[in-house]
């Protein structure tokens, strides 16, 4: 699907994605982790058609050549800082405040993880941090488990979106619990962004078909053999999945249903 077709679906058949006070034509958010270098990352960002990319906050590297901020500026996309690596609400809140100071944005992708092996969200710390940050004026986009009850609690806390995982970060396993993902989408009054665990284009399409408003992925693109080509595939998959969702799929049936009528069949 070319840019023109994507835009036509965006305007003729679909509304833009609205998160808090911002609107986006693209429903793909790209994480920047894992890219081999800045040039490759820039190609992937451009090919993906994304308008929003995530970054982490870390100690400055005196030996670094060039800043990812320059890449983001050159690509003309917006930046979404994350709190990756935080294990407690206190750490995450401090990191969010540092990100606000560094980048002049009150948007934060809130990540509070429970352990290093699964990188699964710690729901207790996550909700605690979300409440604190919303109270402090942040636009909070929490990375959460695929738990409909927790998603509702995060929405009730004032989060601008909820971002349930498809599968653990970096696994590429795709949507492990489509039923939960669909339930979260049915119940939410804020955008549901499928975040983490996407492996390939069909995973992203499925997330959109289940009702997600957008997909956030990083590793699936940055660590693909050809990141720019996979970024283009993800762009098309998200568009196709969204269109299929809006189009209304046929119900699944146990037995066949002939598409050619038996009426008027010749007696042979």
């Amino acid at each position: 699907m070319d840019q023109h077709t994507t835009a036509r679906i965006g305007t003729a058949r679909d509304a833009d994605l609205k998160i808090a006070d911002k609107t986006f034509t693209s429903r793909l958010i790209l994480g920047t982790g894992g890219a081999a270098n800045h040039a490759q990352l820039a190609e992937a960002i451009t090919a993906s058609g994304t308008e929003l990319v995530t970054v982490a906050l870390r100690r400055v590297d005196p030996g670094a050549s060039g800043s990812i901020l320059d890449v983001i500026e050159r690509c003309g996309v917006e930046l979404l800082p994350n709190t990756a690596g935080c294990f407690t609400a206190e750490q995450a809140v401090r990191t969010a405040k540092l990100a606000r100071e560094a980048f002049g944005t009150n948007w934060i992708k809130l990540e509070v993880i429970g352990d290093e092996d699964t990188l699964l969200p710690d729901p207790v710390e996550l909700l605690d941090a979300a409440e604190t940050l919303v109270g402090d004026g942040f636009t909070v986009l929490p990375y959460t488990s695929d738990d409909p009850v927790l998603a509702r609690r995060l929405e009730d806390a004032g989060c601008a979106a909820v971002m349930p995982l498809a599968a653990p970060i970096g696994t590429g396993l795709g949507v492990r619990n489509p039923h939960n993902m669909a339930l979260i989408c049915e119940n939410a009054n804020v955008p549901v962004i499928c975040d983490a665990g996407i492996g390939t284009a069909s995973d992203a399409a499925l997330a959109m078909e289940l009702g997600c408003s957008a997909v956030l992925l990083a590793t699936a693109v940055t660590r693909a053999a050809d990141p720019a080509l996979m970024a283009a595939a993800m762009r098309d998959a998200v568009s196709a999945g969204r269109a299929a969702r809006l189009a209304g799929r046929i119900p699944k049936r146990h037995l066949a249903n002939a598409s050619s009528s038996f009426d008027g069949m010749a007696d042979l």
């Binding site: 994480g31 920047t32 982790g33 894992g34 890219a35 990352l41 995530t54 970054v55 982490a56 906050l57 870390r58 100690r59 400055v60 590297d61 005196p62 800043s67 990812i68 901020l69 930046l79 800082p81 994350n82 990756a84 401090r94 405040k97 540092l98 990100a99 100071e101 560094a102 980048f103 970060i169 970096g170 983490a196 956030l216 990083a218 590793t219």
Partner: protein
């Protein structure tokens, strides 16, 4: 006076501005924590005390 900047002990650092200059020439996209608390840029000339730990942070690739 010993000040720790990004985990390394350093001498001759009197303010946060000095601490930032010790690790980077960049000013855009930089945030500073002093002993774990965010310090707004307007307060970077505040004098440091012996044993203070300064974190100088910026954007890096991340999901």
């Amino acid at each position: 006076m010993k000040i720790e900047v990004n985990g390394e002990a350093r001498e001759g650092i009197a303010t946060i501005t000095d601490a930032v200059a010790a690790v980077t020439a960049a000013r855009r996209g930089i945030a500073v924590a002093l002993n774990g608390e965010v310090v707004p840029r307007s307060e970077w000339d505040r004098p440091l005390a012996d044993g203070d730990a300064v974190e100088v942070l910026t954007a890096t690739q991340g999901g």
